[in-house]
């Protein structure tokens, strides 16, 4: 079982991203379940969604409390939300940010970081800060848990059409290409 928790703000597509990732994993012959956080989501409010991947059917229809990976599609969220709660030791963070690694908020459990200036690229492609498909590309690059090809096919099968589909395919591709992956070296505590 591999578990991912998405963090974003209402309107950035974190819930849709979890479902798109589930569809891509299905393409690859895996079992996947995604569950959104619940409530009256509104634009700008912090939202969470969850994704499980397994080689076997998944029975738990529950939230995720100890994820292997965090995907944070918003660069400012760490100021108001403890996105690292429950992250497994040696876990992965895929973060939308235009800052260098040294200025990105981290936690002791993070061992791998993927950074992508998703807002900057989204403003170029969509003229809007919608970062979800970019960050799926960044996730594929950082973890290798899903292939870029499967993500593309899942987008092509989605409700995206015409110009919207083209933009999102480009976002996926640029998210993949323009992500830098860092391994955090930690010295053993004396």
């Amino acid at each position: 079982m591999y578990e991912v928790r998405f963090h974003g703000r209402g309107g950035q597509g974190a819930v849709t991203a979890a479902a798109m990732l589930a569809a891509a994993l299905l393409e690859e012959g895996k079992y996947a379940v995604s569950i959104p956080s619940f409530g009256f989501e509104r634009r700008g409010a912090p939202v969470v969604s969850f994704l499980r991947r397994s080689d076997k059917p998944i029975r738990q229809m529950t939230n995720i409390y100890a994820p292997d990976c965090l995907i944070c599609v918003d660069p400012t969220l760490t100021r108001s939300v403890d996105i690292f709660a429950g992250l497994k030791p040696g876990g992965t963070l895929v973060q939308a940010s235009n800052k260098p690694l040294a200025e990105v908020t981290l936690a002791p459990n993070v061992a791998t970081v993927g950074l992508c200036d998703a807002i900057g690229i989204a403003l170029e492609i969509f003229k809007k800060p919608i970062t979800n498909t970019l960050m799926l590309g960044a996730f594929a690059r950082t973890t290798g848990v899903v292939s870029l090809e499967a993500l593309k096919r899942s987008l092509e099968d989605s409700d995206f059409r015409d110009a919207g589909l083209k933009q999102n395919l480009l976002a996926l591709e640029r998210g993949y290409k323009e992500t830098t992956v860092h391994t955090i070296e930690r010295r053993a505590v004396a």
Binding site: L26, V33, F38, T62
Partner: protein, 414 residues
């Protein structure tokens, strides 16, 4: 007939397309495959995306049904009553406050023996104000003569929605059916689903024969639902005949639900326990009971407890109304302690409603079984594998200690 599911899923038939969808969309696809003539809808969280999917299927020409956007749930069900009386196959979905607003025609539907299918995308009761899942709405109307079945997975939502029409319309049943799917965890939970082939579903459903016993026909005018009862003339006996007929239909549905599930398994290769599922109950000293989508996490917890050497199993109720007492008694035959997990509150007995119903079955068993009520997952709260380990431990303790008359509130300290 077997009342337990197969341990391993039967391999899917090749014709079935694999898709990814949420529970609400799965319900809508099931409705489309069952080919109703008429649907009436009013949106309400967390049911809204279900009726939006139904409306889209009709707008896209993938579903040939009349759709009525009524001004409220009372009208939704009243409109469908007219449709059903005229011989139409009918469908709607609601939950929570919508179901409350629908209550007057809801009661009338089972009395008129109209085989309407309605999804309840279960939602907790208000007040306090809440828009999240819980079984309080469906539990509140468990005594109104509708058949009520609860689903565990997104796939089961799709399959059961189709089966519900066949159960409702069976001549020995002729009762409305609620397909209950947990708000939030199943309504929005997205997973892999095998989509049955339309021709196969058509063959499964057979020739449409809805409401043969009373159909509005201008050439054959008749009164429907006349004033019946009172203390004089044929009133009392006529009223009793109505009620006895409803009770008989409910009891008949237990057999029909089993038959329809068996036929479904043969045609589509997916087998579900129609009434009560026994999971790892062989040689179990004690058991926990579950309902709905919580059961998946419950089964994972049971596997872990079994790996740790505990002799515990899980009993899942699928058909809650009518309560499958005889089959449940077989499941409980060798159990020495029982923990019942409810996703709603029974205010009168200070316990969960399923716990309260199960006490009745335990009485018939004629043997004292210590039992504990657990209440969790209210208003969107989660019931995790961790919660189930607490349930298993507390139930195990009943083997050697006293049971409490107080429920355990699983999310009290979350």
């Amino acid at each position: 007939m077997s009342t337990t599911t197969l341990e391993a899923p039967v391999e899917a038939k090749p014709k079935q397309k694999v898709i990814l969808c949420e529970g609400n969309e799965a319900a809508a696809l099931g409705v489309a495959l069952a080919r109703p003539d008429m649907v009436a809808v009013y949106p309400i969280t967390p049911q809204s995306s279900l009726v939006e999917h139904v409306a889209k299927l009709i707008a896209d020409g993938r579903m040939d049904a009349d759709i009525v956007d009524a001004e409220g749930e009372h009208s939704v069900l009243s409109v469908l009553q007219g449709g059903a009386l005229a011989g139409a196959r009918t469908y709607t979905a609601t939950c929570g406050p919508g179901l409350a607003f629908m209550f007057e025609p809801y009661f009338r539907t089972s009395g008129m023996r109209l085989p309407i299918v309605m999804s309840i995308v279960t939602r907790d009761g208000i007040t306090p104000q809440s828009v999240w899942g819980g079984h309080q709405d469906a539990m509140t109307v468990r005594e109104v003569g509708w058949v009520q079945v609860y689903c565990e997975t997104v796939q089961e939502v799709l399959d059961t929605t189709i089966m519900a029409f066949k159960i409702a319309e069976h001549h020995d049943v002729m009762l409305p059916v609620n397909v209950c799917l947990d708000g939030n965890y199943l309504s929005y939970g997205t997973s892999r689903v095998e989509l049955p082939d339309q021709a196969e579903v058509d063959a499964f459903m057979g020739v449409k024969d809805v409401n043969w016993h009373v159909a509005l026909d201008p050439l054959r005018p008749m009164a429907v639902d006349p004033l019946t009862g009172g203390s004089s003339g044929r009133g009392p006996s006529t009223f009793v005949r109505y009620r006895k007929g409803q009770c008989r239909g409910m009891q008949n549905s237990l057999r029909v639900i089993e038959e329809v599930h068996e036929e479904w398994a043969k045609r589509f290769g997916r087998s579900y326990a129609p009434l009560v599922e026994d999971y790892r109950m062989e040689d179990a000293d004690y058991a926990i009971m579950t309902l709905g989508s919580m059961s998946g996490a419950g089964k994972d917890a049971i596997d872990e407890a079994r790996d740790a050497g505990k002799k515990v199993g899980l009993i899942k109720i699928k058909t809650f109304s009518p309560f499958p007492v005889d089959v449940l008694m077989k499941s409980l035959k060798n159990v020495r302690a029982l923990g019942v997990v409810d996703r709603s509150v029974g205010f009168r007995w200070n316990c969960g409603p399923m716990y309260q119903e199960t006490l009745g079955a335990l009485y018939r068993l004629g043997r004292h079984v210590p039992a504990q009520s657990f209440i969790g997952g209210l208003a969107g709260a989660d019931i995790t594998v961790g919660h189930f380990h607490r349930v298993i431990e507390a139930t195990e303790a009943l083997l050697s200690g006293p049971a409490s008359t107080e429920p355990v509130w699983l999310n009290e300290n979350d």
